[in-house]
C-alpha cells in the first residue's frame, strides 16, 4: 500500500521540497548531492519535529537543518581527503563522481543560472536565499549562522560578480552576432 500523507507537517515538507532542493543545490553545486542533502534534511526534520515550534517559519528551520548537515558533510569530506592524501596510493585518486555530474547539470542551466552556479559557494548560498528565494537578510543570516553584516558583504560581492559575468556574456554574444553578420 502506498504511504499516505499523515499530517500537516509532512504536507508542509512536501510543499517545501522544490525550494529545499534549490537551496541544497546552492550549497552542493550539483543536483545529485543536492538531492542527497535534501533527503537527509527531510529525514532529520521528521525525526526532530517535536523540536519545531509552531509559529516559527518551517522553511527557515528546514533550511537551517540542511545547512548544518552540509557543514558536517564538508567537515567529514575534508577529514577523509586529508587521510587519503596521507595514506592512499596515487592509483586510488580518480576524478570524483561529482565533477561529472556537475558537467551534466550545467548543460541544463540558463546563462544566468550558470553564472549563479559559478559563484563561490558562500556567495551562492547567500544569493539564493535572499535574491532568488526572497528571504530577508535577517532570515538568511539565521539559516546560515552568520552575522547579518557578513551576509551583506557576501551578497554584495555575489551581485557584483554576477553583474560582471552577465556583462561578459552579453559582450561575447554581441561579438558573435557581429561575426556572423559580417
Amino acid at each position: 500500500m502506498p504511504p499516505s500523507v499523515e499530517d500537516g507537517f509532512q504536507r508542509a515538507l512536501l510543499g517545501l521540497l522544490p525550494r529545499l532542493r534549490r537551496f541544497a543545490l546552492s550549497l552542493t553545486g550539483n543536483m545529485a548531492e543536492a538531492d542527497d542533502l535534501t533527503q537527509a534534511a527531510c529525514l532529520r526534520a521528521l525525526e526532530r519535529r517535536r523540536r519545531y515550534r509552531d509559529g516559527t517559519r518551517l522553511d527557515s528551520w528546514l533550511f537551517r537543518i540542511a545547512q548544518n548537515l552540509w557543514i558536517d558533510e564538508r567537515r567529514r569530506h575534508r577529514r577523509r581527503r586529508e587521510q587519503s592524501i596521507d595514506s592512499a596510493p596515487l592509483s586510488h585518486v580518480s576524478t570524483p563522481a561529482w565533477a561529472e555530474t556537475q558537467a551534466e547539470d550545467r548543460l541544463m542551466l540558463s546563462a544566468v543560472d550558470r553564472a549563479i552556479m559559478d559563484l563561490p559557494e558562500e556567495q551562492r548560498a547567500v544569493l539564493v536565499l535572499t535574491t532568488v528565494d526572497g528571504l530577508a537578510y535577517r532570515e538568511a543570516a539565521a539559516i546560515l549562522g552568520l552575522p547579518i553584516g557578513t551576509v551583506m558583504s557576501r551578497l554584495a560581492r555575489a551581485r557584483l560578480a554576477l553583474a560582471d559575468a552577465l556583462e561578459t556574456a552579453s559582450a561575447k554574444g554581441a561579438r558573435k552576432v557581429g561575426e556572423t553578420t559580417r
Partner: protein, 219 residues
C-alpha cells in the same frame, strides 16, 4: 573584499560601502541610513553605477534556478517525507537509504573481508550484555530508529580516540575507542528497548563507512 567609497558631498557622513549599497537596492536599509546612502548615490556617479549593477544582477537572479523549482521532485524524496518518522524501520533499509545518500555503502566485498577479519577482535574486546531476542531476519539491528542511525554516523565522524555514548527514546549507542581505531574500524554497542548488540564500522578506501551489525549468536 568590500570596497569603500566616500560620497563627494557628504564628507562628514560615514563612508558608503558595498554592504550599504546592496541593502539600499534591496530595501533592507533602515530609514536614516537609507537617506544617507541615497544622498551619497545622488552625488557620486561611481556609486550610482555600482548600485545600478547590483540592481541589474538582482533582476537577473530573481527567479533564478527556476528549473529546479519546476522540475519533478524525485520520487525518493517524496517517499522519504511520506514514510514519516516510523518508529520501527528496518535497520538495513533505513541505513541503506542514508548510506546511499552520503556514500556510506553496505556490503562491499573489501569491507566484508575487513569486518570478517575483525569480528574475532571485536568478540574479545567488546564486552556484550546478553542479547535477548533476535528477529527472524537474523539481523539484530532491525529496529533502530533513524535518529539512532544518524547519531551513529555522528559518532563515527567524531574523535576516534575517545569513547562516546548517545541515547534517545528507547535506544542507546556506545562507541569504543582504542585498538580498533588503528585498523580504521570502530566497534560500537547499541541497545534498543533493553536488548544489546554489537556492530562494526570500517572506513572504506574511498571514504565513508561500511557498517555491519553482528548477530549475537556469533559472538
Amino acid at each position: 573584499m568590500t570596497e569603500k567609497a566616500t560620497p563627494a558631498d557628504h564628507h562628514d557622513a560615514p563612508a558608503v560601502d558595498d554592504r550599504d549599497l546592496v541593502a539600499y537596492v534591496d530595501g533592507e536599509l533602515p530609514e536614516p541610513a537609507r537617506e544617507r546612502v541615497a544622498a551619497a548615490i545622488a552625488g557620486d556617479a561611481g556609486l550610482a553605477r555600482r548600485a545600478e549593477r547590483m540592481l541589474t544582477a538582482r533582476d537577473a537572479a530573481t527567479g533564478g534556478l527556476a528549473g529546479v523549482l519546476s522540475a519533478t521532485v524525485p520520487d525518493r524524496l517524496r517517499q522519504a517525507v511520506l514514510a514519516g518518522p516510523s518508529p520501527r524501520p528496518t535497520w538495513r533499509q533505513a541505513l541503506d537509504d542514508l548510506t546511499r545518500s552520503w556514500g556510506w555503502r553496505l556490503g562491499a566485498p573489501a569491507g566484508a573481508l575487513v569486518v570478517g577479519a575483525l569480528v574475532a577482535v571485536l568478540a574479545i574486546s567488546v564486552p556484550l550484555r546478553s542479547p535477548s531476542y533476535l528477529p527472524a531476519s537474523g539481523d539484530p539491528a532491525t529496529a533502530l530508529p533513524p535518529e539512532a542511525q544518524l547519531a551513529l554516523m555522528d559518532l563515527l565522524a567524531g574523535d576516534a580516540s575517545a569513547a562516546a555514548q548517545v541515547s534517545g527514546d528507547g535506544w542507546a549507542i556506545d562507541i569504543t575507542p582504542g585498538a580498533l581505531a588503528a585498523f580504521e574500524c570502530r566497534a560500537f554497542l547499541y541497545r534498543l528497548d533493553g536488548a544489546s548488540n554489537a556492530g562494526l564500522a570500517c572506513r572504506s578506501p574511498a571514504g565513508g563507512w561500511r557498517v555491519t551489525t553482528m548477530p549475537s549468536g556469533g559472538l
